[in-house]
Amino acid sequence: MKRAWIPAVIVAGVALVALLPVFVKSDYPLGVMIGVLLAISLGAAWNIIGGFAGQYSVGHSAYFGIGAYSIVVLLGRGLAPWWGALAGSFIAAAVALLVGSITLRLRGAYFVLASIAVAEILRLLALWAKSITNGAEGILVGEFPPLTLAGHTITDFTGKPPFFYMALGLAVFCVAVNAVIAHTKLGYYLQAIREDQDAAWSLGIPLSLYKNAALLISAALAAQAGALTATYVSFMDPNSMLGLDVSVRAVLVCILGGVGTIWGPVAGAIVFTLLDEVLLRYLTQSHLLGLGALLIAAILFLPDGLMGLVTRLRQRSRA
C-alpha cells in the first residue's frame, strides 16, 4: 500500500498553516491557533508514554512545569531563553529518569496514582521555594532579548507571530517524533508492552528500559511545551503550570483524538482548544465543567477518539 501523496499533503498543510500570520492580522484568532499548537505539543508529548507505551501518566504537569520554571527562572537570572529551554528539557529528562525508575514498575491504577503524587509534590515544593519561584504570587516573565544573526535583528519577540512560529515548529517536531517512534523498533516494543506486559517480557523485551526511554522522551518534549506556554502567556504560578489541570489536559487531548495514534493529538488538540474557547466565553471560570462533560461523553461514546471514529467510518464505507 504505497501512498506517496501523504508526505506531500502534510508538507503542504504545514506550509499553509505557516502562511496564516501573513493573512490573519488580528490577535484573537492567532492566539487561538497558538493555543491549538501548544495543545498539540503537550498531547503529542504525552502520547509517547501514555499512548504508545500505555502508561497513563496523570502527572505530566511535573515535566511541563519543570520546563516552564527552568526557562523563566533562568531568564530572570540573565540566561538566554533557548539555553533555558534546553536546560528545562534536560532537567525534565533527569527527573523522568528518577521518577520512571521507581514508578514504572507499578501497574495500572498504582502507576496513575504515583504519577499524580509526583506532580503534586513538585507543585507543593514550587509553592514553598519562594526564593526561586516567588511562591503562589507567581512570576511575570521577563522580556526576551532580540534574536540577531550577523548583526541583523531577526525578531524582537513582540506580538504573536514569533510565538506562533515557535509553537508551530514545536508542534511539528513533537508530531514528527511520534511518527518516527511509531515506525521504529521502539514503537513496536512500546505497543507490545501496552498490549500485554507479561507477554512482552516473556518475548525478551526489556520492559523497564523501553518504558523509561518513552517517559524520558515524553518528559523532554512536555518541558518544551511548558517553556513555550509560560513565555507566551508571560505569567506563571505553581497552580497554572504544575496543577492537575495541565496533566488532565494532556490526557484529554489524546483521548479525544485517539490514544496511541500519530494524528490523534492533532485532532484532539483542535477540538479541545476550540471547544474550550467557546466554553470560556459562556461559562467563564467554570469552563472546566464543559471539559469534564466532554471527557465523560468521549469515554462513553467515543472510546477510541476521533481517529477511531475515522477508522470505523472508513471500514464501513469499504464494506
Binding site: 521507581i102 507499578l106 496513575v112 503524587a117 509534590i121 515544593l125 461559562l283 465543567l289 471539559l291 471527557l295
Partner: protein, 287 residues
Amino acid sequence: MIRLLQAVLGGLLTGGVYALIGAGLSLIFGVLRVINFAQGELVMLGMYLTWLLFTFLHLDPFVSLIVVMPVLWMLGWALEALLLDRMHGALPQNQILLTMGLGLVLSNGAMMAFTSDYRLVSTTYSSSSFMLAGVALSQPLAVSFVLTAAIATALWVFLARTDTGMAIRATAQDRDAAQLMGIDVRRMSRLAFGIGAALAGAAGALIAPTYYIFPQVGGSFTLKAFVVVVLGGLGSVVGAMLGGLIIGITESLSATYISTELKDVCVYSLFLIVLIARPGGLLGKAE
C-alpha cells in the same frame, strides 16, 4: 513532649475524617474495581449541603448528617446507574478518566452554583477547644472523631454481619461466584457506590465547622483518600481506617516538626515509599 502529644492527638482527629473518605473509596474500588477520582468532590458536595442547611435552616452541621448521608447515597446510586454501570469491563484508564470528568463537572458545577467565594459554617463551637492530658484539642474535631468512629463501627457491622453486607464483600472478592450465589451484582455496585458517596458526604458534614468551603476543596481530599487507601491496601475497608489515622498523624507531625507548607509533601512522599516498598498496602501481602 506536650508538643509531640499535641501533634499525635491532633493528627488522630483529622485522620479520622480521612479514614472515612478512604473507606468509601476503598469500598467502591473493592466492588466496582474503579478508582473514584471524584471522591473528594463528593466530600465537597457534603460540605456545601451542610452549609446550605446551616445557613438557611439553621441546622447544626453534626445533625445535618441525617440529611447529607441519604442525599449523597442517592446521588452515588444514580451516578453508578447512569455512568459507571456502562463502564464495566472497560479499560481501567478510561474508568479513571470518566470519574475525573465527573469530578470536573461537580467542582465546576459547584462554582457556578455557589461562586468561588469561601464559605464558612461558623457555629458557636467552631473554634472552641478543651484540654486533655495537658493538650488543647479542637472541640468540633473531637465530636467529629466520635461520630466518625460510630459511622465506621456501623459500616463494619453492616459489612461483617448482615446478608447484604456480606453480599457486597462477596461481589468484591469474586463477581462471578457472587452471581452464582443469587446475588444481583449490579445492585451491589450501586449500593457500594451509594455507601461510598454517603461516607464522603458524612466526612464533608463533619469537617464543615472547621474548614473553608469552596468548589475546589475536593481535589486535596481525593489525593489524601488515595494515599489512605493505598496505605491500607486497595479494597480493604479496615485498612483504610488504619491508613487514615496514619496519614492524619504524619501530616500533623510534619506540620509541627518540618513546616506547615511541606506537610503534604511528606504525606505524598510517604505514599510513594509505601507504594514502592509494599505495593499491596501496609496490611496486605507484599507482592
